[in-house]
């Protein structure tokens, strides 16, 4: 699939987007639903997708974890009238960088070869994980044909 994509590189175009919504069952902490969307059924294995989402959820949990280190950071910040936030990168920001790197890796290794692209949730206000589905222009109606080009079937 990788080489195929490589050959037809010039003709891939965006067909559809799938949005993985947030899971609020545990409160307002950042967590995404692991339900496998039907549009991706023919594109990627369920386990791979679930692994990606679970790993992301774990990263976010780590960022928002309330424990010794975060208390220390918080108290120190309070003592300095929170000016420390202007100088030092917070733990959350560090984890966000890790997440960005992870998503990039996942895209390179797993998603791009399957014609998919994950957008970092931070770019969508942490509301959704946006997965773009690309299809080869040249090929005839690939899997995303049914749910495709929402514009054309909308009316």
């Amino acid at each position: 699939m990788g080489t195929e994509m490589g050959q037809k590189r010039h003709s891939a175009s965006l067909a559809n987007k799938v949005f993985i919504q947030r899971d609020y069952s545990e409160g307002t902490t950042c967590k995404f639903q692991t339900k496998f969307p039907s549009e991706l059924e023919s594109r990627i294995e369920r386990t791979l997708f679930e692994d990606t989402v679970k790993t992301l959820n774990n990263y976010y949990a780590e960022a928002e974890k309330i424990g010794g280190q975060s208390y220390l950071e918080g108290c120190l910040a309070c003592a300095t009238a929170y000016l420390i936030f202007l100088c030092v990168e917070t733990r959350y920001e560090k984890v966000l960088k890790k997440i960005a790197k992870y998503i990039q890796e996942q895209n390179e290794k797993i998603y791009a070869p399957r014609g998919l692209l994950i957008t970092d949730p931070i770019e969508r206000g942490m509301r959704v994980i946006e997965i773009s589905i690309y299809e080869d222009r040249g090929s005839s109606g690939s899997s995303s044909g049914s749910s495709s080009v929402s514009g054309s079937t909308a009316r």
Partner: protein, 474 residues
């Protein structure tokens, strides 16, 4: 159809943005437009906010009475240092100006941080997301677009919570999020819109706000105590209070200001301490969301059931990042979108979307976009972490402007009671009472100014969003 004017999303009109130009060589990307510098996202931000220092500082459009707050603090502290400190240092101890100075600095810094920090604004949904929400509603097998239902229920820690759909931001608001009509933004963990600091108080700046009011209580009480001591010492020996006041007129002013403020500020601090300990927001407290007023057995699903943990979570928890990428650059052809809905953009099928931060995926991305601007790396020296290019704010502007719903959130009952609700914070009166009157519970009145942001439109006041813009405290 419901009584709300809802502008349905036209899927053909959904623009798909092109990638951001690399921040370092700005004018490169502007091929179509005149060669001007690339614009930053704050310049096209749809909410009613103002930005300074090239997007580093964000405030609400109306500064409210922030200048007054700052002025009062500066004047009172200034008078204290000029009139009272010399006397007290001579007669008591030189620690007094030190403590006073420390508190003063702390108060001013936290005030400025509360005012200038992004309270936790949620960027508006991209057109694609909004269309996706509408599309899902129809489950009869036809793909059509229609306004989504007003609420959606979710189960949070075994408690049913209703999520409302925000017609302005085109998304279901996460729990505890509310739309402030004064700022025209959805704010996470919305507490209230505070006119004294000229900004909303939400998830990101609540700790600054709390620290501000607590330190201000200490400062006010400290100054009050010192002034009283000063006057008492001067009036000793049968000289009388009048004599003392004549000798130190500044102290009279301070006395008046402090006397009237100390009760309200102490009351406010006490109220917020209660909120922090029970992990509630002012908004929830006012509306009685978790107090069982509706008769059902409801408990606060967000509380950790332990005062200490609640306090620590709120005040010492991790600092969440800002979700609006104020200083990011707009993609080259995004700048046209600020003018309004960009219907002439090609449909999804022919244009590709880049959602970056995937600098390595060159094969797919290059093919997909056919744009020379592609695959710029994400955070090249940007202050925010993983944000790079995206299309959130700018594309949202292409929202059909004459929007929305009038009063689609029926929540104003809460705000209309907000001012009269017999809560502790109504102690804030006396001198602030006149200000409080200005600060009206019903945001419809306050919504000021002709909004200049493209999509705000005249309907901002009619929107009736849950703007809890009342300021219960002041």
């Amino acid at each position: 159809m419901k009584n709300c004017e809802y502008q349905q999303i036209d899927p053909h009109a959904l623009p798909t943005p092109t990638p951001t130009p690399p921040p370092h060589h700005g004018s490169d990307g502007d091929k179509k437009e005149e060669p001007k510098r690339p614009r930053r996202k704050w310049e096209v931000f749809p909410g009613k906010n103002r930005f300074y220092c090239d997007g580093r500082i964000i405030v609400a459009r109306q500064s409210g009475v922030l200048p007054l707050t700052l002025g009062l603090i500066l004047v009172t502290s200034g008078l204290f240092f000029i009139f009272d400190c010399p006397f007290l240092v001579k007669h008591l101890t030189s620690c007094i100006p030190v403590i006073g100075g420390g508190l003063f600095v702390f108060v001013v810094i936290t005030l400025l941080q509360t005012s200038f920090t992004d309270p936790g604004i949620l960027p508006r949904a991209t057109p694609d997301e909004a269309a996706d929400i509408e599309k899902q509603i129809d489950n009869t097998g036809n793909t059509s677009y229609r306004p989504p239902p007003r609420t959606k229920e979710v189960l949070i820690n075994q408690q049913v919570v209703k999520l409302k759909y925000c017609f302005t931001c085109k998304m279901f608001r996460p729990p505890r999020t509310s739309h402030c009509s004064l700022c025209d933004n959805c704010v996470e963990r919305f507490d209230h819109h505070c006119p004294w600091v000229g900004n909303c108080v939400g998830k990101r700046n609540y700790r600054f706000f709390y620290t501000f009011i607590v330190s201000l209580s200490f400062l006010t009480a400290f100054i009050f105590g010192c002034v009283t001591t000063h006057l008492a010492l001067r009036a000793q020996g049968g000289k009388g209070l009048v004599f003392a006041l004549q000798e130190s007129p500044g102290s009279a002013v301070e006395l008046v200001i402090c006397f009237f403020s100390v009760w309200s500020i102490l009351g406010l601090s006490g109220f917020h301490t209660y909120l922090v300990a029970s992990n509630l927001t002012t908004n929830e407290d006012i509306k009685g969301s978790w107090s069982g007023k509706s008769g059902e057995d409801v408990t606060n699903p967000y509380s950790h059931k332990n005062i200490f943990i609640n306090c620590c979570t709120m005040l010492c928890g991790p600092m969440p990042p800002s979700l609006i990428d104020r200083r990011g650059f707009l993609p080259a052809d995004e700048s046209v979108q600020t003018a309004g809905p960009d219907i002439e953009l090609p449909t999804l099928a022919t244009k590709s979307e880049i959602n970056v931060c995937t600098q390595g995926t060159k094969g797919l991305l290059e093919s997909a976009t056919r744009s020379p601007l592609l695959s710029t790396s994400c955070p090249q020296g940007k202050p925010q972490t993983a944000h790079s290019c995206p299309d959130n704010s700018p594309t949202v502007n292409s929202d059909p402007s004459p929007e929305l719903s009038t009063r689609c959130g029926g929540r104003h009952t809460a705000s209309s009671q907000g001012d009269t609700s017999p809560r502790r914070h109504t102690k804030s009166h006396s001198k602030k009472s006149k200000r409080a009157a200005l600060h009206i519970p019903n945001p419809a009145f306050d919504v000021p100014v002709s909004p200049t942001s493209p999509d705000a439109g005249p309907s901002s006041e009619a929107r009736g969003h849950k703007g809890v813009s009342f300021s219960p405290l002041h």
